[in-house]
């Protein structure tokens, strides 16, 4: 694997750096400090670190109260527990109250691997993006996360960060700059555009390469922020290629496929096909096995791209 740093290492280093200048940044954990590795934050800022134990609802509420007093809490847990488990607290105590909290949900989709169905969120972005005014972002790799962290911290309001803790396949170069609210057009294609997020971006690039070998010109756009979605990027992709394949490590319902389709339907209808989890629960296994089970492989993207092109008028 052409990996660099673990995402959690970048997350924690960025937080420590941001917290140096911004005294309002605090970290609250619910007994998974050792999984997301915020221990170094605790070492640097012991007065700004809290571990409430296994109590996600309380963690979210405490974050809301701290935010009401001017703090910027970063709270985290495994994806299902950072979202589903404390959804009403995120919705009412934080979002409805217009407070300023960053929620980190780790191990998205198949990245939960051997923790299995109880820990494998295919719906987290779907339920989170139903919260008004929220920002939902899935950083692609270490370089992108590093660029986005200051923007995430600076954005006032509820931000949900869907974070793969470990080494995400390298897509970008260290030092590359990203805008939290703008998609990254990695390559342009006239036949089809693959819109991808998270671990699926690398797979999309591999698929585009295979398609090119077959004479198909596929572009790849990385939509890291699912909400608010970069409508212009979606429209531009449709206008250029006339067909879209969305590749997401998430349930196709309410996820990136839905978000892209919402834009397409309203602004420029075109075939939007999906490489995603087809309304299934999670299960245990390693990534290659799970990619087979849920049809999230490079070959699935290639196949769907051809189908999308065939649907073009």
């Amino acid at each position: 694997m052409n990996d660099i740093k673990e995402m959690r290492a970048v997350y924690c280093e960025s937080l420590i750096e941001l917290a140096r200048d911004n005294k309002d940044i605090v970290v609250i954990e619910a007994d998974l400090m050792n999984c997301i590795k915020t221990g170094d934050f605790k070492k640097n800022y012991p007065d700004r670190f809290f571990n409430v134990g296994i109590a996600e609802a309380n963690m979210a509420g405490i974050a809301a109260g701290m935010s009401a007093c001017g703090k910027i809490p970063f709270i985290s847990s495994f994806g299902p527990f950072a979202t589903r488990r404390c959804y009403d607290q995120l919705f009412i105590s934080i979002a409805y109250s217009k407070l300023n909290v960053k929620v980190i949900g780790t191990d998205p989709g198949i990245c939960a691997e051997v923790n299995g169905g109880t820990h494998m969120p295919f719906e987290d972005m779907g339920i989170m993006r139903c919260i008004p005014d929220i920002v939902c972002v899935e950083p692609t790799d270490a370089a992108q996360l590093k660029s986005l962290m200051p923007q995430i911290a600076a954005h006032k309001g509820l931000v949900y960060v869907r974070l793969y803790r470990k080494c995400s396949p390298k897509v970008y170069e260290e030092g590359d700059k990203f805008d939290l609210f703008k998609a990254k057009e990695i390559s342009q294609g006239n036949d089809v555009t693959i819109i991808a997020s998270g671990i699926m971006v690398d797979r999309a690039l591999q698929a585009a390469k295979l398609l090119a070998e077959q004479g198909i010109n596929a572009g790849v756009t990385n939509i890291h922020t699912w909400k608010p979605i970069d409508k212009d990027a979606v429209i531009a992709a449709i206008k250029r290629s006339g067909a879209i394949v969305v590749a997401e490590n998430h349930n196709r319902y309410n996820g990136l496929t839905s978000a892209v389709s919402e834009v397409a339907c309203e602004h420029c209808p075109a075939p939007v096909l999906s490489v995603s989890v087809n309304d299934k629960f999670g299960e245990v296994g390693k990534m290659p096995y799970l990619s087979d089970v849920y049809n999230l492989n490079v070959s699935d993207i290639v196949e769907r791209a051809k189908q999308a092109i065939a649907l073009k008028k």
Partner: protein, 274 residues
């Protein structure tokens, strides 16, 4: 507490009850019982022990009040209106479209409300967060949180109590409005909190208990809470749902939310006409 101050506070509580009833009465119905049961503790906080003012509602050093049982908003609004946080005439808009006084407390709609509440069980965690923020900033403001007894059937309340107790949050004072009633009946019959004092003590909380309608006793308990260094205090307020309004008290469990006729509220408030 000297008798003059006590007399002032008792009169104030009576006045707050009238404003609360007028507010709900003009609308026609609302959460009467649980609003009236917390009037006395609100009165002592806002007119006696609390450090907050209508002139500076956003003062970062003000004491915070979280009414976690957010449906008791009208009682809090009555206090805030009387204190001049907003014009008293606003009480006529309770729950009307576009109002700044919604059924449940909303920090973004009502000047003076420190925390949004209404989805039961959530406010106490927020109060814990406020108390922790004060400690982090080495500020001396205090946080007061009023929870309901029915609300205490929510698990999050106990998560928050456990953490408050273990963190020794001596700048947080929790009140439970122990009127022993909830929408569907008596708490003891639906899902009892007893033995309540033992539960709090087991959660490492300084546990006090007073008549929730005896302002002098409430005041004394708050003084004890302030003096309990290193301990978070919970004060059990033995209250009566609908207290101070005979026809609300008489409704018992039915006092939670009910319709008030115009003649009822006008007679209670001594307002024959506008």
């Amino acid at each position: 507490m000297d008798s003059q101050k006590l007399s002032f506070l008792q009169d104030k509580a009576a006045q707050i009850r009238k404003i609360t009833i007028e507010m709900i009465g003009r609308l026609g119905s609302g959460h009467v019982g649980g609003s009236l049961s917390i009037v006395d503790v609100l009165t002592d906080i806002y007119y006696n022990v609390g450090n907050m003012s209508a002139a500076h509602p956003d003062d970062p050093n003000r004491d915070r009040v979280v009414v976690s049982k957010g449906h008791a908003g009208p009682a809090l609004y009555a206090v805030l209106a009387d204190k001049g946080y907003f014009p008293i005439d606003n009480i006529k808009t309770l729950n009307q479209g576009g109002t700044s006084l919604p059924s449940h407390c909303d920090m973004n709609k009502t000047v003076g409300v420190d925390m949004t509440a209404g989805s039961l069980g959530q406010g106490l965690s927020c109060a814990v967060g406020m108390a922790l923020a004060a400690k982090m900033d080495k500020k001396s403001y205090r946080t007061y949180c009023i929870i309901g007894d029915g609300e205490s059937q929510e698990g999050q309340i106990w998560e928050a109590l456990m953490y408050a107790g273990n963190m020794g949050l001596d700048n947080l004072t929790i009140f439970i409005d122990y009127n022993r009633m909830q929408i569907d009946g008596y708490t003891d019959e639906i899902n009892s909190l007893e033995p309540l004092p033992d539960k709090y003590k087991a959660f490492n909380l300084n546990t006090l208990r007073v008549d929730g309608h005896d302002i002098a006793a409430i005041d004394d308990a708050i003084a004890k809470a302030k003096a309990a260094t290193g301990k978070c205090t919970v004060i059990i307020l033995d209250t009566i749902k609908g207290h101070g309004v005979p026809w609300a008290e008489d409704k018992g469990v039915g006092s939670h939310s009910f319709a008030i006729s115009e003649s009822q509220w006008r007679e209670f408030c001594g307002k024959e006409k506008d």
